[in-house]
Symmetry: C2
Subunit: 316 residues, 2 copies
């Protein structure tokens, strides 16, 4: 597989732009004052299906040849990629088969089914999810669309930064969350191509700090039993994303669950918008002063907004 | 006092537009599907100080002659008008004296003080608040700015509809919350002037249904002990606003607190934005099918977003 380049991200954007939202970039005088920087929030919580995942999934689905697409798409995911792939498949009128752990919340399951996804429940282990997806692919001939370790997905995720830098061309820094690394890799490719001097930082939950460990040691290193309230960021950083991140990203800051909850709360109370825990991690890194933003123009990716109303008060 | 006209609202907009946010108009395919209409949400929850009240307060403060302004402004309010007036006075560098009930929440008090408001605590009765404000005016010579029963305030509140109809000129209906009636009166003046065939509806809490009762009987009628989770809508509909509302508004629908909470939840979960209970009342009237929107293009005023994070889970 050849390297993902800015041209791939531009092509992805041309392919998906009529189907997705060009999400707004919001600012807050008060959060600028609190952080000391000038913050530009890219609001992917307002994206179709509630997260940036709609970008990569739509790019992947629309990239398929007709004969391939006709057999549908498949993935394993308990979260935003599942909803995004179901929605993107619906745009093309093809089936989406989604392997989900049987422990998934009723709300998430209902959301994927409402979007037309055909859910196959499996045991809640990574191995069982992969096996279930493999079986679906064998039986249906559906095209497997990985949540992040897929060049079409990474190129799609990079379109958020392409839009952000179109709206705010003179950013000094972008801060982005990292889980499997698809968003961070795509963002960094777009940002460095458009503005080579820009600096890239990521936020990662302390309890799932594999990307930070891997960046420090230079080789991909998983953590055992990753755990965080930011459940969208538990994945092990992907094989495709990692070399891109090594090349482009200056540092990955880890943040505690308490810091993530505090960041959600500040975004909610001051900006009046809902972000899910994973979506608040980049801002949490700034609020915790783990990324220096004083006097800088800073793009902050708010990656998603799928948090349940009842889950807020205690932070869960 | 002469009648408030569209020219007053245009002048107000020219006066305040550089100081306030032109708030976005958001749409949601899913809420359209659920309601059967095409909904355009005017997001005053993103306005300066978190509500539309910044419009009227800023118009009033900037309308003062220099000599008058120099003595400052005063009001009584426990809510959004207090924060808005403190903020607007700060723009002009003049003091804002705010009579607040001593039972006000710590968060609201801190918010007004952070904005530079000089708070005078008083007993939590309407009479005590008015007496405290009167005393401040006598002692300081400050200009009293009523929360809604003031033509400068009503004209300022009408600028939200002016912007909305600039962005979406072909609305069939606007739905707006009603408390003291300043927003509803201003909105209706702007809407009817720009599009005479438009229909105006309001949502009001069941527990504070004075405007609905008054509209039905043709005379202003208070309710005893108004009570609702929508604490911004407890005021008795104003003398200036009421005749305007009688002339322009087709109907006022009442909604229960449960319906208001359900509306907040839907807006939060689907649109990913925070609205306070009062801010969700117009949408609640639509969701409860108390305003018929099928096949119509409908402006919905989300009036404010000042809800505390911890106050959400139980709805309070």
């Amino acid at each position: 597989m050849s390297e993902i380049a800015i041209e791939d991200i531009r092509e992805a954007h041309a392919r998906i732009r009529e189907r997705i939202h060009r999400t707004p970039v919001l600012t807050s005088a008060r959060l600028d004052e609190l952080s000391g920087g000038r913050l530009f929030f890219k609001c992917e919580n307002f994206q179709k299906t509630g997260s940036f995942k709609a970008r990569g999934a739509t790019n992947a689905v629309l990239s398929l040849a007709d004969a391939e697409a006709a057999r549908g798409v498949a993935t394993h995911s308990s979260g935003n990629h599942a909803a995004a792939l179901a929605w993107a498949a619906g745009l093309r009128g093809i089936p989406a088969f989604i392997a989900m752990p049987r422990t998934v919340s009723r709300v998430k399951l209902a959301s994927v089914e409402r979007l037309g996804g055909r859910v196959v429940l499996c045991e809640p282990t990574h191995e069982a999810r992969e096996a279930a997806a493999d079986r679906i692919v064998r039986e249906t001939g559906a095209a497997f669309i990985h949540p992040f370790d897929d060049p079409r997905v990474i190129a799609g995720q990079g379109t958020a930064a392409l839009e952000l830098m179109g709206d705010v061309p003179d950013l000094d820094i972008i801060v982005c969350p990292v889980g499997g690394g698809g968003l961070l890799a795509g963002t960094s490719i777009a940002a460095k191509a458009l503005r080579p001097g820009i600096r890239l930082f990521a936020g990662e939950p302390e309890g799932a700090a594999d990307a930070s460990l891997s960046l420090a040691s230079g080789v991909r290193r998983p953590v055992e039993h990753p755990s965080s309230i930011a459940d969208g960021l538990l994945a092990f950083v992907g094989e495709l994303a990692f070399p891109v991140i090594r090349r482009n990203v200056d540092a990955i800051a880890t943040v505690s669950d308490d810091a993530i909850i505090a960041a959600m709360r500040q975004i909610w109370e001051i900006m009046k918008i809902a972000v899910e825990p994973s979506g608040a991690v980049a801002f949490a890194a700034i609020a915790q002063k783990k990324v220096a933003v004083a006097g800088r123009r800073v793009g902050v990716i708010l990656s998603g907004g799928n948090v349940e109303f009842d889950a807020l008060a205690g932070g869960r």
